[in-house]
């Protein structure tokens, strides 16, 4: 087929552009308007809102995100973002973000701060008790016994906001716990 205008313009840049793997985020070459982002560290990310999958550059300084903008090298969005993507900066820097583990006791009308260790052990204990109390090893269906190994005491929902690898771990954990009531936003 004929050479498209796009390829023609890119010309000899093809070979240089075809580094297959960057490996590290810092190697991701991105446009850096010289003044505004000078001296900042950069990494790339993908928008957490809709599934267009727009690429973004994150600029940080002293461990804080100071700017997020569209990634001009990203083949889909080529630097542009919509209203939501443009607001991601305010997810990273937001006083309303949760920063501590909170616990609400039965009948209480308020949260109490707790440590991770305390919460994780207690949650694990609740999960274990629930599983062991509500484990259906066998079930009689149409007069015949079947092994089903289901934990009917708990349900797990949500995952569309998790990364693939996290979804994998969550699913692996859920199935090991015998959880069959496992659902998320894709169904709704």
């Amino acid at each position: 087929m004929s050479v498209s205008r796009r390829n023609f313009l890119k010309g000899g840049g093809l070979a240089a552009g075809s580094i297959a793997l960057t490996g590290k985020p810092s190697q991701a070459s991105v446009d850096k308007p010289a003044l505004r982002t000078k001296g900042l560290q950069t990494s790339t990310t993908v928008c957490p809102y809709c599934a267009v999958g727009c690429g973004m550059i994150v600029h940080r300084k002293d461990g804080k995100i100071v700017n997020i903008e569209g990634d001009p090298e990203h083949p889909i969005n080529q630097g542009s973002l919509c209203s939501k993507g443009s607001a991601l900066f305010q997810v990273a820097n937001n006083e309303r973000r949760l920063t501590k583990v909170q616990y609400r006791a039965p009948k209480s009308d308020k949260w109490e701060e707790k440590s991770w260790d305390w919460a994780m052990e207690r949650i694990a204990k609740r999960m274990k008790d629930t599983r062991d109390r509500n484990f259906v090893k066998q079930e009689k269906i149409n007069g015949e016994m079947y092994t089903v190994n289901r934990n009917e005491g708990m349900a797990m929902i949500g995952a569309a906001a998790l990364d693939n690898e996290e979804c994998y771990l969550l699913g692996k954990f859920a199935r090991a716990m015998g959880v069959s009531y496992l659902e998320h936003q894709a169904r709704i």
């Binding site: 092994t147 990364d163 693939n164 090991a176 716990m177 659902e183 709704i188």
Partner: protein
């Protein structure tokens, strides 16, 4: 998506139906506009005149929930006027297949209906088979039992006049849509369909999608550049979370969850591995045993051996439907002690949301992991409830945001792209991976120590080795998702060492020599590295595949079913926009990664293009659906009119639920939608000052006529009521929403965004308090998009 975002630029016609990309997937619209710059026509089919409609060449209004009538009429026109892509239809679809004489359709019911259980038995929805067990066919398409003739007969009832009486579409707009779209049934022309939740959230949502796919098959628009049916998915990784099967009915890579009667791994494999006697069928799912064994090995590692069925016993077996609506019913009946919510807010996002909130009151414990305090996490202090009456222990865990952790997400076009951690999460917040890891480690210890623990094996034997860091090494998890060799082996003449990454799913084995956490992602992390991190920007064909940018499932194939984009000799239907083409000299495909490397269809030893189906042909007639092999128009569960097509009012394969209006008390058609500035259940946008400033309030959109009738002006407080509940909101009086003339009467519509709730920086009435908890016959997705409501002046307190 069968195709991907960038491919939309290649279309000659783009139909947005049940979607509004200009507002809800704004950057995708770049490619719609690019196509239009090259002469493409844009059609917008929507109850509301949206910003997508404002850019369209043709806007056709339709009543929520009448897509099948709309598309059925289009198919009728295409068939009556013989506008199909004949060569494609005969060779690549099941149009020529003969259907069993027992299959019938009569006044809205397909053969095999069981009215007591709202179910069909599907035996009669089958092909006639020859002596070898393969479907009989008539390539002339003349046999009255051919799929083609049955299809033609089925949709002959869908005349333009009848359709428009049902949908409320102006007939001149409808005819313009049909003529524009039908013109793409020629080789060299393409049309794409962009759809979203306006399509799926109905009691026949799956059939809505199927009707699009069927029309695209008839026109030869599947597999080609600028073609396909493209679901615009609403959450950044909802594709990935589906691929990774956080769902009751599937395991990673769309393997089936075992049912109670699959007693052994062999029984499971026998039940779920489809068979084909046709040597020309690739029948890709015949690999099920390899994928399943590799998954079990990834789950239970060395404990999983051939002798113990790879710990198949450890997997829970289902004996019912545990989908979201059923789960919530069980919650409301006190069926659960505990609930874990990972970044989800069901009392805003779920149907009949107040009932879900009430259900939470019965829990012993609830865990919510989130960036924000959501409505769901503070259900115990929601308006009108006394916390003292609620005994639930609630744990709210502060989670890391997307820029505070490493990992991949998969967009609508199936591209898995890597995100890097830029900074630490704020305060004590942690990634979701950290939380799951902590639970597993705590539970492993507890189960190992407790001699009386119930069935500890699945937990104590769980293979869980992701490094010694503070949180699991996501790199190691990504490697496991791809899969590794568990011993030195030689497969297809290639030798691999224990511990090496499996290069692609073609090398996965059923004998335990491979692991793979998700066969569909096998090839995403090879010995060459993490493919999802790639940033190569070259586009040598100019077609926009970007094969070296990130990675896409399956095996980096950018357009699915692409072997249907060529004729029987392997020549692209459109030589100017080739997805793949056959090089006779090298005897290889060029372009995209082909859907299997077999030679063109004219040659021996080849395979048919629809490799995931056991027959190998695109299905115009689909015997596996819950509610009929052809989509048929029914009314939404709550509808202001009788079904004009048959005497079956609603989908016969869906039980009629309790909280439904049959009284005419609620005269207006309600529907929900999203706005550009907010997202889903709102926590990720209603807490951001910039976005809150743009859209601060909940509103309901009504027509000028309805506003006049109710004495409302723009900005007035109103109360919207349904059989489920009531909410208040501000009236937004626009000319974007107009009444429809349906079955001789005018029907008003009321539209509203569903992002709001009582908690957060911006608060407002929750639209899902109004919606119905009734689901689609195949998927049980709730019918959010069509319900009946009333609207009155004044807020709840006034």
């Amino acid at each position: 998506m069968t195709n991907h975002w960038i491919d939309i630029q290649h279309a000659d016609v783009i139909m947005c139906i049940g979607s509004n990309p200009a507002e809800n997937h704004p950057i995708s619209f770049k490619y719609v506009e690019k196509a239009m710059d090259n002469g493409a026509k844009l059609i917008s089919v929507d109850p509301r005149y949206t910003r997508t409609s404002s850019k369209a060449d043709t806007y056709a209004q339709l009543r929520p929930g009448t897509d099948i009538a709309f598309i059925g009429g289009m198919m009728n026109y295409i068939l009556e006027n013989d506008l199909i892509h004949k060569e494609y239809v005969v060779n690549y679809t099941n149009a020529a297949f003969l259907v069993s004489d027992d299959y019938k359709f009569d006044d809205g019911l397909f053969s095999g209906y069981d009215s007591e259980n709202f179910k069909y038995s599907k035996e009669s929805w089958a092909y006639q088979l020859d002596a070898n067990g393969n479907p009989k066919r008539d390539d002339s398409l003349q046999n009255p039992r051919s799929v083609y003739q049955l299809l033609k007969q089925h949709y002959a009832r869908y005349t333009p006049e009848k359709v428009c009486e049902i949908t409320g579409t102006a007939i001149q707009d409808y005819m313009e849509v049909i003529r524009t779209f039908a013109a793409t049934g020629k080789a060299g022309k393409s049309a794409t369909i962009m759809y979203a939740m306006g399509t799926t959230q109905h009691t026949y949502g799956t059939q809505n999608v199927r009707s699009y796919a069927m029309m695209q098959l008839l026109l030869g628009n599947i597999g080609i550049a600028g073609g396909g049916i493209n679901a615009l998915r609403g959450e950044a990784n909802v594709q990935g979370s589906t691929d990774y099967a956080i769902l009751y009915h599937i395991l990673p890579g769309y393997l089936k969850v075992p049912t109670y009667d699959n007693k052994t791994l062999k029984a499971y494999n026998d039940k779920w591995t489809p068979k084909s006697n046709d040597p020309q069928s690739a029948n890709w799912w015949s690999n099920t045993p390899k994928y399943m064994a590799s998954l079990l090995k990834a789950y239970w590692g060395d404990a999983a051996t051939e002798q113990n069925d790879f710990c198949y016993d450890y997997l829970p077996k289902r004996s019912g439907n545990y989908s979201f609506i059923k789960l919530m019913e069980r919650l409301q009946n006190g069926g659960f002690e505990g609930l874990v919510c990972m970044g989800t807010n069901p009392i805003v996002g779920g149907p009949d949301a107040s009932a879900i909130a009430d259900g939470l009151d019965g829990l012993k414990w609830m865990v919510a992991a989130d960036l924000w305090e959501t409505e769901t996490s503070v259900f115990w202090k929601r308006p009108g409830v006394d916390p003292k009456t609620i005994d639930t222990e609630v744990f709210l865990l502060p989670a890391a945001s997307s820029v505070e952790k490493d990992g991949s997400i998969s967009n609508s076009g199936r591209w898995a792209q890597w995100r890097y951690k830029a900074v630490n999460p704020p305060g004590h917040a942690e990634s979701d991976a950290f939380m799951v890891d902590q639970w597993v480690k705590n539970l492993k210890k507890m189960y190992a120590e407790d001699k009386k623990a119930v069935f500890p094996g699945p937990i104590t034997d769980l293979d869980w080795n992701y490094g010694d860091g503070h949180e699991p090494s996501i790199d190691m998890v990504a490697r496991e998702c791809n899969g590794q060799f568990t011993r030195d082996v030689t497969i297809k003449g290639k030798t691999f060492k224990k511990g090496q990454q499996v290069p692609s799913f073609a090398f996965l084995q059923a004998d335990g020599s491979t692991t793979s956490g998700n066969w569909l992602y096998c090839n995403s992390y090879t010995e060459q590295g993490n493919m999802m991190q790639r940033r190569g920007q070259e586009d040598p064909t100019g077609m926009g595949f970007y094969h070296n940018w990130a990675w896409c499932w399956p095996v980096n194939r950018r357009v699915l079913y692409n072997r249907a984009s060529v004729d029987l000799n392997g020549k692209p239907w459109n030589p100017n926009k080739p997805i793949i083409s056959w090089n006779k000299v090298t005897r290889k495909w060029e372009g995209d990664v082909p859907d299997g490397g077999w030679a063109p269809m004219k040659e021996d030893g080849t395979k048919s293009p629809f490799i995931m189906l056991p027959e190998g042909y695109g299905r115009l007639f689909a015997g596996g659906m819950a509610d009929g092999p052809f989509p048929e128009h029914y009314e939404p569960m709550e509808s202001p009119v009788r079904n004009l097509m048959t005497k079956q009012q609603s989908n016969p394969a869906v039980a009629i639920p309790g909280k439904i209006d049959n009284s005419g008390k609620y005269p207006y058609v309600g529907t929900t939608y999203r706005v550009s500035e907010h997202w889903q259940a709102g926590a990720m946008t209603r807490n951001l000052p910039w976005l809150v400033e743009l859209v601060p309030d909940m509103f309901v959109e009504i027509s000028q006529g309805l506003a006049d009738w109710k004495g409302l002006k723009n900005g007035d407080m109103v109360t919207v009521t349904t059989e489920r509940g009531k909410i208040e909101a501000r009236a937004l009086v626009t000319s974007r929403i107009k009444p429809l003339r349906v079955s001789g009467k005018m029907v008003e519509q009321v539209g509203m965004p569903w992002h709001f709730g009582f908690n957060g920086l911006a608060t407002g009435g929750t639209a899902n308090v109004l919606t119905t908890a009734v689901g689609d016959a195949n998927t049980t997705i709730p019918e959010y998009k069509a319900f009946l409501c009333n609207i009155e002046k004044g807020g709840l307190k006034s």
